[in-house]
Symmetry: C2
């Protein structure tokens, strides 16, 4: 039920792009590009119209306000990024296939999100930037995280802890370490330093290994 529900949301969101008028699509494309580059607040609707090759009035025919244009860009990204971060798909896979350790789960998670970020850099830049100023976006993200991501993540962490594979920290702490490490890697890779020569495969391996075993060469005493 719940599974079908968010799946439908994703499909809906995907199909919405086909329902768009060609001009509407061009408005969204132009807005995404400029928002990502200069930020929402310093982008004018006239500039968007110019880049999209439409009249300024056309923007307001499809989006009541400039803010609604922003939200219609950002809202789908939240579900698309957050949900598969630890979606049912993965968790089911873990429990059904009896994936033996957190490490393999991490690999799937990182590989999957790596590709997503790679293909959605401008959208994620906008989300990252504007979340700070719009409580609506914050709330939307929080809700999605609390409802879709956290419970599954929590369940998996506790499963591995019970099997003695994971350290006995509060699962919130483990989730925090896992997420900040992965997100930190992706932000460094694609936003802070996208131009240096990355050996992606190697860095992903190291990131997973770091998450599991840390930086020390000595055994942990815990």
């Amino acid at each position: 039920m719940d599974e079908k529900n968010y799946l439908n949301q994703l499909i809906e969101a995907g199909e919405k792009e086909d329902e768009l008028t060609p001009k509407q699509a061009r408005i969204l494309e132009a807005a995404i590009e400029i928002f990502a580059e200069k930020g929402y607040a310093s982008t004018s609707t006239s500039e968007i119209a110019k880049k999209a090759g439409v009249a300024e009035g056309t923007i307001f025919r499809h989006f009541k306000t400039k803010k609604e244009l922003l939200f219609s860009i950002v809202t789908p990204v939240i579900t698309k990024f957050a949900v598969p971060f630890f979606a049912t798909h993965f968790v089911n896979q873990v429990f059904n296939e009896k994936t033996p350790d957190y490490e393999q789960l991490l690999r799937k998670l990182i590989m999957n999100r790596f590709e997503f970020v790679k293909n959605n850099i401008p959208l994620l830049k906008i989300l990252l930037q504007e979340m700070a100023f719009h409580t609506e976006i914050q709330q939307s993200y929080q809700e999605v995280f609390r409802r879709e991501v956290f419970p599954k993540f929590d369940e998996a962490v506790k499963y591995y802890q019970e099997n003695g594979k994971l350290i006995a920290y509060p699962s919130e702490t483990i989730i925090r370490f896992t997420m900040t490490t992965i997100i930190g890697f992706l932000i460094t890779r694609f936003i802070v330093m996208p131009d240096v020569n990355w050996n992606d495969e190697e860095e992903i391996d190291r990131t997973i290994h770091f998450l599991m075993y840390g930086l020390s060469t000595e055994k942990s005493e815990s």
Copy 2:
């Protein structure tokens, strides 16, 4: 020489606050508060003037443009945050006192930066936000990092690697893991979830332990 140089810069920056006119100080205070809350681009100079209790013209007597006002807020933060992140002070301490492991260095680093972030949240919010849109800020940060932070950090990491205490990753990778973990913790603690009940001492301990030994209960095979 070099040490004295950036030390002087810090002292200079500190003294500059005393050189300020009372009204100039109130302008900066007001600007910091509003920039942090709504962002640079959606803050008007008239709003700053109103909050500071000065005429709008007074702002432009002291700061040629609105952008110069932003930079005079942000630039000192860069040096103040980045430099002690791994300043000579710490490194000297390590080598002179023969601090035996990376772990103790990490503790000093985290405790130090924890207090700094705690006391400068609005300034760091502004830096974090506006860095994305102003290449001048990015360049300034990069330069400070490459000149002041990285070489010292690099030196320390290699020292511990030679002593067999740290894993044989490229030191860039180790620095990246260390920084994203610490910054990720501080951002979660003070910006994303400042309102939940944090047991700071415990979380700092866990963060250090995670950095050193990871999440697994099993020994690393590397």
